[in-house]
């Protein structure tokens, strides 16, 4: 009884163990004890990266086989891929070494071609190199060295600027040091001015602060505007006048543009010429007065007589005056 029970227990236990092994075998899925079934395809790469036998071969992300062997063929790495027998790979498919994660798990990725014919046992598949971290880091290294040289240049330039004896900064320093007092004063003045401005002192300050100033400025502006308007009016009036003159309207226009006036003027000038001619020729009273010398002599004589008379008068001036007065009275 006890023995049969134990036998049953042992049997059940053993079967359970086998079942567990089978479950694990199924769920882990890859199901590879040793060699895989399938046909072999070779792929040559310049660099197999970390590809090793046992890595997966995937087409469109689906596992279709595995790498069975890696070897060196004339300086190139050759990977022998074992592909599941029911998977067909078009002849122009391209294989590349891809990375399955940051931990360096590599696999062969096959990009499906469009050819009608499929690969056969022992065929070679086209390959394409892939950029991996090493290449990327090499590129980054190049960039880094360039950046380094750039910064070296920058630091050299900075060294020129900050050179202790002759650099730009030291010169600047000197300038600042020498003019420290001036600068301080300037700054103080500036501060004063700005505070004055802020407080509304001075013209500018008031201008800034005071509304009246603004208003008056506005007024001035307005007056200027008015004046400009007047000037414009004036100009337009002037233009009108000039236009009128041009068209011969008004006295000035008539003077300038009317021919009858011109004729009159011409006749006047002619008459004046005649008169002056007659005067010159000594014709007429005025002419004779101007041209006849006898008249001049007569005049001279008269004037001399007058002078003498006046002289005489001058001698007995007061008496005469009194006499005249007396004469007049008496």
């Amino acid at each position: 009884m006890s023995h049969t029970l134990n036998t049953a227990r042992v049997g059940l236990f053993f079967l359970l163990g086998l079942a567990l092994i089978w479950v694990v075998y199924q769920s882990l899925g890859d199901g590879t004890f040793f060699r895989e079934e399938g046909y072999r395809v070779s792929a040559q790469f310049d660099d197999l990266k970390q590809l090793k036998p046992g890595d997966e071969v995937r087409m469109a992300g689906v596992r279709i086989g595995s790498v069975t062997e890696t070897k060196l063929v004339r300086g190139r790495g050759e990977a022998v891929l074992t592909i599941n027998p029911h998977v067909e790979i078009p002849e122009d498919s391209i294989a590349s070494v891809a990375m399955a994660g940051l931990l360096g798990n590599n696999f062969i990725s096959i990009q499906v071609g469009s050819s009608e014919t499929d690969m056969e046992e022992g065929a070679a598949i086209q390959t394409r190199p892939t950029l991996d971290f090493n290449d990327a880091f090499a590129t980054i290294g190049d960039i880094t060295s360039k950046v380094e040289t750039f910064f070296e240049e920058v630091s050299r330039a900075v060294a020129v600027i900050t050179d202790d004896d002759d650099g730009l900064l030291s010169n600047l320093n000197e300038v600042v040091r020498d003019n420290r007092d001036n600068l301080r004063e300037t700054l103080a003045n500036l501060r004063e001015v700005s505070t004055a401005l802020a407080e509304g002192e001075g013209t500018l300050g008031r201008l800034i602060r005071d509304d009246e100033a603004y208003e008056s400025l506005l007024g001035i502006g307005r007056s200027v505007e008015n004046a400009a308007g007047n000037a414009e009016l004036l100009v337009s009036d002037l233009r009108e006048i000039v236009d009128q003159i041009k068209t011969g309207e008004g006295p000035l226009g008539a003077l300038i543009y009317d021919e009858t006036t011109g004729d009159n003027l011409r006749r006047i000038v002619q008459n004046l010429g005649e008169v002056s001619d007659k005067l010159a020729a000594g014709e007429g009273t005025l002419g004779r007065l101007l041209a006849d010398e006898t008249l001049y002599h007569d005049l001279q004589a008269v004037l001399q007589k007058a002078e003498r008379t006046i002289d005489g008068l001058g001698d007995q001036g007061p008496i005469t005056a009194v006499g005249i007065a007396a004469n007049a009275l008496f």
């Binding site: 227990r9 042992v10 053993f14 882990l28 890859d30 199901g31 590879t32």
Partner: protein, 252 residues
């Protein structure tokens, strides 16, 4: 010199015992009851302690991995780590150590007692080779039971890791991610390597225990010394063999 001689004697004795025992393999069907009994003792009754041990090994692995990987945000790899270390190393070794402690000691004590009380001599007198009825059923039983124990240890350990990884607040790894990690990183080959290792360890633990038990001479005090010797030799043998078997398996 004497000690080297001793070690060599042990070595040879174990080999001879192994060969002699398997020479009686054809008689196995006749003593299948004995085989079942040994299977029951070695496998069935050892299972609970193996289950408890592997559950907590898986848990503590997940806990340590979660704690350590926290810094690098690599907690998605807890599944892979727990799965691989259990399958390749911890499940077989821990099961073998348990076996040495629980079963090996019992076997060596039983055989040493039989030897000390001259039961073995009586068997020889009756022309029944002790290897046939005492050693062979045990060796076959351990070969049958060890894979079952180890695969159970694997699965229970994974489960323990999953429970811890999901429920500890600073890990909180989804079970799907955990088991996906196991699925992606643990290949059946790893499980198979673990089972092969466990088979070898278990076989040698039982063989050494039988050998040490049967070699016991003197009085009852020697029984205890034999048990101690059997367990110590088994443990050393497990850890030394572990290295060589693992490196050998990696080459295939």
């Amino acid at each position: 010199m004497k000690q080297i001689n001793n070690i060599l004697e042990h070595f040879g004795g174990v080999l001879i015992l192994c060969v002699r025992s398997f020479a009686y393999l054809p008689s196995l069907p006749l003593q299948w009851r004995r085989l079942i009994e040994q299977c029951f003792l070695i496998g069935y009754t050892t299972f609970p302690i193996v289950a408890i041990l592997s559950f907590f090994i898986g848990s503590v692995l997940a806990l340590q991995a979660g704690y350590s990987l926290q810094a690098v945000a690599g907690q998605d790899f807890i599944g892979a780590l727990v799965g691989l270390s259990l399958a390749r190393e911890l499940a077989p070794v821990m099961t073998a150590i348990l076996l040495a402690g629980r079963v090996g000691s019992a076997i060596s004590a039983e055989l040493a007692t039989m030897k000390v009380y001259q039961e073995v001599d009586a068997l020889v007198t009756m022309n029944i080779p002790p290897e046939r009825i005492l050693v062979l059923p045990r060796l076959v039983a351990i070969l049958l039971m060890m894979p079952v124990l180890t695969i159970s240890a694997n699965l229970i350990g994974w489960l323990g890791g999953a429970i811890i990884a999901q429920n500890i607040e600073f890990i909180q790894l989804d079970q799907r991610i955990y088991f996906q990690g196991i699925q992606n990183f643990v290949k059946f080959r790893d499980i198979l390597d673990g089972l092969i290792k466990a088979e070898i360890f278990g076989f040698f633990v039982i063989l050494v225990s039988c050998h040490v038990g049967l070699r016991t001479t003197g009085g009852p005090r020697e029984i205890g010394a034999s048990v101690t010797r059997a367990v110590v030799i088994s443990l050393i043998l497990i850890l030394v063999l572990d290295y060589f078997v693992t490196s050998a398996l990696m080459k295939f």
